[in-house]
Amino acid sequence: MLKQTEGSHAVAEAVALCRPEVICAYPISPQTHIVEGIGEMVKSGELKDCEFINVESEFAAMSVAIGSSAGGARTYTATASQGLLFMVEAVYNASGLGLPIVMTVANRAIGAPINIWNDHSDSLSQRDCGWIQLFAETNQEALDLHIQAFKLAEELSMPVMVCMDGFILTHAYERVDIPTQAQVDRFLPPYEPRQVLDPAEPVSIGAMVGPEAFMEVRYLAHAKQMQALERIPQLAKEFEACFGRDSGGLIRGYKTEDAETIVIAMGSLLGTIKDTVDAMREAEHGGHKIGVLGITSYRPFPLAAVAAALKNCKRFVVLEKSLAVGIGGIVATDVRMAVTGMGLKGYTVVAGLGGRAITVKSLTTLFEKACREELDLVSFLDLDWKVVNKQLERERTTRRSGPAAESMLRDVGVIAARIG
């Protein structure tokens, strides 16, 4: 049924339709509305046979999720930013133990300085934790990916993060098609655990493994993700057959066939990029041959699919809401590996950190430069160099230059009057 609703609410409804049995979560912006929504459904009885557990921290949230998943219950949680970092030890355990937990990450920046706005630093910091990471472009896709995530997680017995841009998606009202319970039941079979803690048939889960088998167990996690590379596109097809919508998959190209320049990104930013690209293609003075490649599956990273999508272009720009301090891009590093030996020019652009608005105007200038191959290898979109240089100068000339963030905020001046 079509509905105009908040992204968080759409996800809450999708999770409820997946018949979770345990939900344990600790509130943190911008994830809060999702678990509040599910909490209300449990309390009202709309979501039956589900226990909602209020926990005292994110570490507890993931620990309870591990316990309930090992106990054979379909388990869901959600977090963001510092909350994800706080649960990291348990996040690694969940994947190490092969427990099919589904978790929404409402992507948000990581402090310090504290910042509640969107970027991809949080889930990308967990790049190597063994969880599958799927990125949603729209609220419809966020909803759809959760339904696919439970099926993928349980088939492989591996946990899945569904990443959606905090505020930009979680707090946006837009049109979504909410499936029926019958549709979801047809797509998602009941959870059949590969391992279960059962007093009637006692087993150990999580015992110590020494050098004799540790590498093999770890390799298994990699093997599972390679299986996921096969399963994710198949699941998207099965989903389409069931729900009539093209959602998910590994990657999604837009006007890439004849493109000389391809812009690569993840998440909600893709919409703004597509609008920019359409305008540039229609530009009066000879349209630019430019296309877009969205990466839905960040882990596993679809090396072969990305290489195939880029095989006819001349250059690519990875536009990412993350920064690998000391080198540049995080996503860009993976893309460069995908195109090894293809002789393409590649540019990394870090954008939108901590909620900095990414505008069509800035993107147009950026992409035009990219088409002319005038970009630096690594650049920062709309970085205020005046503020950066002033602080660098302060640090050069004054030993006790004081806290950097506070000084830079003062240099920027009052921001209450700003719209973007």
Binding site: W117, T272, A417
Partner: protein, 198 residues
């Protein structure tokens, strides 16, 4: 695509107004996208929310920097925030006030504006009267429906039912209707004056 920016203060229902506007547009079969300015909102602090309405899927997710219409829920913001930033020339301006544009010191800014795009409504008073609380967001939506003709009053009423129940819904419907009629009458008056000049 039509873009609306709503300015107000924390506690005035700015974000709810944008959401309801998107619901009203959806009720008329259109695509709509509403989102807040993502601040850590505090009561009384300036808040901005955005709404886009179109006949096709809306992919754009930048903040609205060149609105077609402005709704200003608190006129004291005129001295604090650059509320007019990027407003398209001749765009709709709807202010919650019982003063005129001249009295608000805006005569110069709106000199060349069509009179039927410059609208005021005492939304706080109307809300106090019908809802019992000084929350101007819903009457302003009624006013916006009349001002822009973009959405019908009945769609605003549907959106009210989605967000509120019982007495609060009833009060808000009465408030939206009164504001709609007030603004409608002001536009008719402005048009009549223009015709008389012509």
């Amino acid at each position: 695509m039509f873009q609306i920016r709503i300015h107000g203060r924390g506690g005035q229902g700015v974000v709810t107004a944008a959401e309801m506007l998107s619901i009203a547009a959806f009720e008329e079969g259109r695509h709509a996208q509403a989102f807040p300015s993502f601040g850590s909102e505090r009561t009384g602090a300036p808040v901005v929310a955005f709404c886009r309405i179109a006949d096709h899927e809306i992919r754009l997710r930048e903040p609205i920097m060149e609105p077609d219409a402005l709704v200003i829920q608190d006129p004291t913001l005129l001295h604090q925030v650059d509320v007019f930033a990027g407003l398209k020339k001749g765009g709709y301006i709807l202010i919650n006030t019982n003063k005129s544009f001249e009295e608000l010191g805006l005569a110069d800014y709106v000199r060349d504006w069509p009179a039927d795009r410059l609208l005021t409504v005492s939304a706080t008073d109307i809300a106090r009267k019908h809802v019992g609380r000084p929350v101007p967001n819903v009457p302003l939506l009624g006013g916006f429906a009349a001002a822009s003709g973009l959405i019908q009053l009945e769609s605003v009423i549907k959106a009210i039912h989605r967000k509120f129940g019982g007495k609060i819904a009833e009060g808000n419907i009465a408030a939206a209707t009164e504001a709609f009629n007030t603004v409608r009458a002001a536009i008719d008056e402005a048009k009549r004056k223009e015709d008389a000049h012509a």
